[in-house]
Amino acid sequence: MVAKSSTEEPSFTILDPPKSAFRRKRFLLPFGISAGIALAGAIALFASGTVALPFKQVTVVSAMMASKSVYFQDSEVRRILMANGIDVRVSDSGGSREIARDRQERVREFDFVMPSGQAAAELIRDRFGGRVYFPFASPLVLGAFREYAEALEAEGVAKGQEGGLYYTLDMVEFVKLSLPEGGGAAKTWNKLKQPVDNRNQIVAQSPNPCDSYSGSAWLGLVAFAANGSVAPNEQNALEVARRVKPVFEIEGLHGSGIGTTFFYPDGRSSAPVGVMYEHQYMAHQFDTVARTGKPDSERVLLYPDTHHRTEPWLIAFSPAGERVGDLIRNNADLRRRALELGFRLDNQDSTALPDLLAARGLPEPAPSLTEGFLPKPPDLETMIREVGRCPEIRVPI
């Protein structure tokens, strides 16, 4: 470097390099905040398993079912399945027995199907094969608006259980209201000792036994009651079916099940008493308690004194379907969520639902210990064909 000379050399003023835009205060603060939020979001997404999704193979799994679609459409179930790389797309079959009927030969194109109960599930497995999983269960019950349940109690047909939300229904006496001994028309709600302002004949509204599992199982329970608490057999299935047919003609055109409409604000108008699954009611109560802090006391359940526990089967036709079957059977988060949706788990966890009900401040129901036996599948089919106007099920039974 040359020393200073007399003539002033042109000198460079070295300015500090301009502060990086990233270091300016005006930038740093908002950036810091947004980066922080992004980071927090990313951590949250990571924790939930969502962050890995774009980099993970998501398998789209197609399924067909009826009322059990509430499970796969639940956002929490979808999230857990998604975290396991599975996106279940559910097609609505209408009723579970429509899966077995399958006029278009399309059932095996699905990765799995999930009929609502064992009797329909057996038909499907017999016709289409597949691998079977038993994820959870739920008793067949009647949903009722309170004044109807109380009218039945005053009539001596139902008996309130502790806690105020559940009743035990005397099936033999209840069926007699729709099918009086010695013939004649069914009693109407406004003619009970404690009348309800409703001129309709007394019947539990049910979906068509041809199409739906709950409808067919209800027919089984009604027949059991009308046949001296014995399941009709090959010899008398047809005769018993003819006898109980008027019960199913009261309603005329059957609805599609009251599992959702019952909980609408106008549910009382659509069907004040109807066949449903316990899980539908319990899910509603969990939801109501979470929202309002107390249960819905306007809607109650009638537990038939001849119990029928429905067992939805997951029948898998592909490896993807089997993967869902394994998850739903073994994944702890999915099982916990099934409980929150009101399902009962198998015997290993038989107190899980009652425990959850207690934790949420809901009473525990006492389903009957007496089983209402359904007729053997071929006899039940005979009865369904007699009672409903059904398209044939092309299944070797």
Binding site: A35, G94, E249, P265, S269, R389
Partner: protein, 488 residues
Amino acid sequence: MRRPVLLLVAVAAVLAGCTSVKPEPTTLTVLASSELADLSSVLADLRRDTGVELKLDYEGTVRASEQVAAGVDHDLAWLSTNRYLKLKDVDLPPSATTMLSPLVLGVKAGQAEALRGASWADVAGRAAAGGLRFGMADPRVSGSGMAALIGVATAAAGTGAALRSEDVTCDKLQGFLTGRAFGAAGATEVVDEYVKRQDEVDAVVTYESAVLSLNASGQLREPLEVVYPRDGIVLSDYPLMLLKPDKRAAYDRVVQWLRSPTAQRAIMERTSRRPVDPQVERTEELREPIGTALYFPGTQEVVDALLAAYDRAGDPRRVVFVLDHSTSMAGERIAGLREAFATLSRAGGFDQFRVGETVVLVRFAGTVKEERSVVVRGAADLEALAGALASAELATDGTAIWSALDHAYRIVGDGTVVLMTDGENNAGMSADDFLAAWPNPPARTYAIRFGEADPVELDRVARATGGRVVDAGSGSLLEAVKEIRGCR
């Protein structure tokens, strides 16, 4: 240090983007119930939020159901109910309830007082007497028109169960249909027509949503009050149905959006339909309890029988009552007969004599004593009928059943004959004379017998005409008359 932060931000941004990718804009064609024309602004929101445009073709629910059953090109169907489709015995497409509206009567506020809390029977009786004139949509096309017929017929059958074919063999709809001042193709047209004719008529039969919207439209000189028939509501639940399975993704998006609280609220506020979502707080007028729904008939035959009755509406109808006034009728029997006529004239209900009907009274004993014909045009004629038998004398000259029936056949025209007697034939023509004279009886004949009347030959004649003998011995005469009112 800086780089990783940037990278993280970039990743976060990409991820954030991932979750809100707008799906491809799609257009779905929809066969829709005609009243859904009022949804256009809701559908604009749907398109904005989901990218799915619904192109609606309008048709009445009953006709649209026939078309869907036969096969249509539309991607979706959105009808007031899928019940008519179910009656067609086809596999029901996937179906999601979207909103609710009950069938009601919109009655002018001035007239509504008398009908508040009314039953279908009250409505029918009032209409029969000329006191209620209304518009209703054509039940061959429209779900609202068909629902009204089913409501009236189910209530008239009075069994508390769904209508069966045997419940509709006699036509109990004519009293109600007497009040039908005008028809229209569909639910929308009937409302438009009501606006035009509002000064001439009293009411319109349509959905609650249409009545409330009409009141809010400012087109009415006198507002309408909603009357919910308390013995049986027919509730429409507007299922959106997927007809083309390959459109499932877009269909699911539409259903999900329609069931969202925002959409449910928009539907409620803009169309006055009831939201299905219990969490959406309802407007005051939609909190009104709607009573119990009636059970819906389970067969197409019942619906067809109701349509046949509808097609007969307005046909002039003539009933000839052939009434035994021999002395054996003295006491309770003649009192019961008088009471029956007073009730049919004054008490309303489904069996009331109605405007447009011609009622001929033939009184007989040993011979025909009196023939009196009343064409019902209004209240004065009904009053005349109510008292027509009050002072009629009984005669001692015997009981000429066959001569009286012979007389009736000569004046019956295309009407129906109802013979009421308590005795054996002991004057005038013999049964053999009568049967020889009328080998092919010209009019459907019903006989109501009480006391000792021997029905063997009566039964033979009645059955030959397609009628029958009703025994009033066990119940009241009025019940027996009601049993055959409307039978043709």
